[in-house]
Amino acid sequence: MTADQSHEHEHVSLSGEEAPPPPPIAPAEPGTFKKALRQKRFTVGLGITVLLVAFVIFAPYLAPYGENEVAGPPYNKATGLFGTDYLGQDVLSRVMHGGGEILLIALLGTLLGMVLGIAIGVVAAYGGGWWDEVLMRLNDVILSFPQILLALVVLTALQRPSAWVLIVLVGVSHAPRVARLARGVALGIVTRDFVIAAEALGERRSRVILAEVLPNMNAPLLAEGGLRLTYSIGLVGALGFLGFSADPGAANWGQMIQENRLGLATQPWAVLAPVLIIAIFAIGTNLMADGIAQVAQRGDN
């Protein structure tokens, strides 16, 4: 077995209905998105995600109460659609205000993780030899450290989690996982004719990577990106749940769960509303990722 077969395996696992023997790697094809659109789960996932992003952007303007406005007594079920939270703020309004941070951190964190991971993976694959050995060993070290544990220690050490810290943390914790995949995909590509040809023509290595290797990796990486986004949402939410978020007063779905946990028996909506919206978000991105994964795995057919 070679390296590329190992994540091809992964894509088999991600696949849905049909699993014909896939080609070793998914080469670049311009129509990944178009093909994905033909997948029902991708369109559903995309639909959910787009709706949610629109909700996050526009809902704050439509919310009946302000983000920190007092609407009634604490844990009051009679106020508003979902009642009030631990401080007497309107739960519905808090949900409507509270998506920005989690969305932004998850998106940028994922992006950073992908960029870092691809860079590491491609350099390892293309550099080969010692580069490969050292990078992958360091990769293993971070991998054996669960994401949440890393976040817990770093955030405590820093004392004040700002949004940027959270983004870097999410990105760094994704990077080694992405790097593994990127390295495998890149290994399959660097031995291909067009790359070898480019090198033979005397192109600089960095140029070869940028011009030939990277564009040829997009489909499986896109799928990975979707998957990472799902995990990012979970991670940012979990950190908020553990009490780490950038602004303690701001509405924030993860933090809302933590703030109102005590009231689960008294005023369940204060907890369930943010939990459900995180659930819908995660399901949406996961469906989308799986749709792309299927396209990536099927390749050119």
Binding site: N68, P73, P74, Y86, T156, Q159, G243, F244, P248, A265
Partner: protein
Amino acid sequence: MLIHGATGGSSKDTLDPHAPVTAADIARVNNLYEPLLFWNNNYELEPALAESVEGSEDAKTWTIKMRAGVTFHNGKTVTADDAWKSIQRVANPDAPLSAGGQLSTILDFGACKVVDDTTLQLVLKAPYAILDSLLAEYTLGIIPGGEFDPANPVGTGAFAYKSFEPGKTSTFTKYADYWGDAAFVDELQIQDFSDDSARVNALQAGQIQTVDNLPYNLVDTIKGAGGGTLITDTGAWVPFTMRVDQAPFNDVKVRQAFRLIVDRQQMIDQALSGYGSLGNDMYAPFDVAYAADLPQREQDIDQAKALLKEAGQEGLQVELFTGDDIGSVATAAANLFKEQAKAAGVDVKVTKKTPFYDDQYLQYTFAQDFWNTRNYIPQAVVGTFPPDQGGTYNETHWDNADHRDLVNAAAQELDDTKRAELLHQAQEIEYNEGGLIIWGFRQQVDGYGPNVNGLEGSKYLPLGSYKFNKVSVQ
């Protein structure tokens, strides 16, 4: 057997009588050890291991008569020597423990002496009229020879040590030879809980019988489930602290403006679910000298805006530091203040620190803190004096010689009326210029199971000052 569920116990728990850290520690210390005097449920002094504590005419020499026939859990009789050595441990001038800060500066160690087995004479460097109140703190329990043995802690309390696992649980057995009312239950267990939902659930399930510091917004839930709640007025407060030596709060107009921004009733209604009473930017509400006649300050956005304008601070931006380790009320109050300040055009950025009490504590320009019930003089000393004069917690960096002289004069004044007058003047200064925003005093709300009897609320500490010897379980 009685099982008490304590808040916030963790692996840093200790049984040291003179350095309790967590609320679980305080519950344990109050049952294992006893000081020379007690604060009773009404926050008045009453004799405990000392039968009497009498000051001389000039309040410089204090004579302590020990109660006869009190024994430690190891059977040894309590002597004046034990008391003196315990005081020395706490008030070690080089390294005082929490109850010893004030004592270490006023005691004349060379002149103090153990007269006989039952008499201790304390001599002070300067007159101090309320020395007795310092001896009543729960952090000044008397232990044999003033030596604490972590492996086998010995005190005089109604319960004796049996086992201890930090962060988990500790057990105590009834001390049959207790000098006061012997306990009803044979065994006391104090169970640590890291979070409130676990404790509330355990109480409802009957797995524990008492809990202290119920979250305010769950009081109705507990009542609904058939449990009892013990609600007591306290002098405990969670102030906002403004550093008077730093911009923008070095301008008294800004300080007064901030005090006018706070909607005190809303703070109580939302952050305390209504379980509290209004504060008037002065502490020690149970002190006989409390200046209740000063007009109650209320929210006045217009005047606040005018003051800010006069100070040239329109559109002011400030950062407010808070943290979970101050207590759950703190973050809630901070978030409310942020919203209230918007009306006055002040932009407050709330920053939550974990932990809040790190090396930045006492350096924050604008932050919060928590205080329990205390009388005016000791509170003023620790909270408003410079650090070298005993102000170990001077969050606002308040340094006002007039105020300090009044407090010091009052501390030496034996005449109650004259002392009250001095203290009234001191409070007026703080009311007009101080750096504390005291928006309310919270009520203490504790919970107990339907089968528990004998609990009485205390203004001093939760659950009737944790005197579990008075509690019976059916």
